[in-house]
């Protein structure tokens, strides 16, 4: 469980709410009521301002955004510059956000809400009397974000903790979730080495639409597309590497390390390497970063347990009876003492 203080939750309403959100969102906003869409809000230079889910709540839109410290101010500035019939309010003034993660998060939620929540499709949501539940997450298949009327937060959290005891429910901090994101190949806007990159380099083109030409950053993105672009590639190493370490092959520079961290689950160093497109390829063990041998991987580097969980057949309470593939597909690093 995590108290998601870092997530902006903004509600956009009005006759032109769609137009306002659409002008910011880098992909086409095809959404039905009750659905979410994962996308990006870019800056004018096509770098990422906010990692965003957009939910359609009848005629309104709810944005869950990570990244920019003052997104509400950015939106208000935009409304001043481009007036339209839309209002933007921050739900953080009246609500709290709690997220639940883990391969059996669905089971805890079912104990809390009822078994029907097991059937809640990914990227959909529903409302309860004092809270709403959105199924989306960056740690695996079963991540849920609860937006709770502040008056009821303490009681709800207390209830979740009580129900969570048989599930070994644990509070986790943001760096832990960010490590899960790295291990599961989810984009994390807090990795500072990625700040200068556009969706092209980040392998996030699926969150943009080439057919859509009228959104913030569209022109710069189109400009970047005119030439080849380096590509973010997952890499592992037995020894530590650092952000901005130069990556070489046969003595020639082919890229740089954009993010690096020790994975306690995998017992290895995991890094995001920005490689020239000629050399951006999984399955290569001939590159080095500051003399450290690297192995490029097909992400995600870990076999997320949630991929193998079937709520119809599995339960946290009987997990010792189940056999799953090992989470870590490779041997622990020989140099694990450097962690």
């Amino acid at each position: 469980m995590h108290r998601a203080e870092h997530v902006h939750v903004l509600r956009v309403e009005g006759n032109e709410a769609f137009e306002f959100v659409d002008a910011l969102f880098a992909r086409e906003l095809y959404l039905q009521d009750g659905q979410l869409l994962h996308g990006l809000i870019l800056r004018e230079d096509a770098t990422v301002l906010a990692d965003t889910y957009v939910a359609r709540d009848e005629d309104a839109f709810v944005l869950f955004a990570e990244g920019s410290h003052d997104l509400l101010a950015s939106f208000e500035t935009r409304l001043d510059a481009h007036p339209c019939n839309a209002t933007v309010t921050s739900l953080r003034e009246t609500h709290d956000v709690i997220s639940l993660h883990g391969p059996y998060a669905w089971e805890l939620l079912a104990d809390f809400v009822g078994p029907e929540v097991i059937g809640l499709p990914y990227l959909t949501f529903f409302h309860d009397e004092h809270w709403s539940c959105y199924r989306a997450g960056k740690t695996g298949e079963f991540g849920y974000t609860l937006v709770i009327d502040r008056e009821h937060t303490d009681a709800l959290v207390q209830q979740l903790r009580a129900l969570g005891k048989p599930y070994d429910l644990t509070d986790v901090d943001l760096p832990t979730l960010d490590m899960c994101a790295l291990e599961s190949w989810f984009y994390c806007i807090r990795f500072s080495g990625l700040a200068s990159l556009s969706p092209l380099e980040l392998q996030l083109q699926w969150r943009t639409s080439r057919r859509k030409t009228d959104f913030v950053g569209a022109e710069a993105l189109a400009q970047r597309r005119r030439t080849s672009w380096p590509q973010l590639t997952m890499v592992r190493s037995d020894s530590a590497v650092s952000v901005d370490d130069r990556i070489s092959f046969e003595g020639q520079p082919i890229g740089r390390v954009a993010h690096a961290a020790w994975s306690p689950t995998a017992s290895t160093w995991l890094s995001l390497a920005l490689l020239h497109p000629t050399w951006a390829c999984a399955g290569i063990d001939a590159y080095t970063a500051a003399g450290v041998p690297l192995q490029t991987l097909t992400p995600p580097p870990l076999r997320n347990r949630s991929l193998f969980i079937n709520p119809q057949r599995h339960s946290y309470h009987t997990r010792s009876d189940d056999e799953f593939p090992s989470i870590c597909p490779f041997e622990p690093a020989a140099d694990s003492t450097t962690a």
């Binding site: 990914y122 080439r210 000629t278 999984a282």
Partner: protein
Amino acid sequence: MTVRATIAARQAVLAQVRAILIDDLKVRREPDEIDPDTAIFGSGLGLDSVDAVELLVSLESKLGVRPPDEAHSRVAMRTVNTLVDLVLQLRDCE
């Protein structure tokens, strides 16, 4: 296999997988818009369980490969690149 040969082999299969996704599964993207590590189902390219069956059929008919079991399918069909891994792995076994 040299690094260059490995990369060339992988790029060739990647091109074939992209073509299957666009031509058979009707993914509305240009080939270079389909990043290699994009998820195929759900978020990502947005395919569903019905598409999964069609994808398996196309992999077998056009590339001559079939995942050996369900567990392999689940991992192999996670992203475009995991499909490429599967094709290369099964071809190596032949």
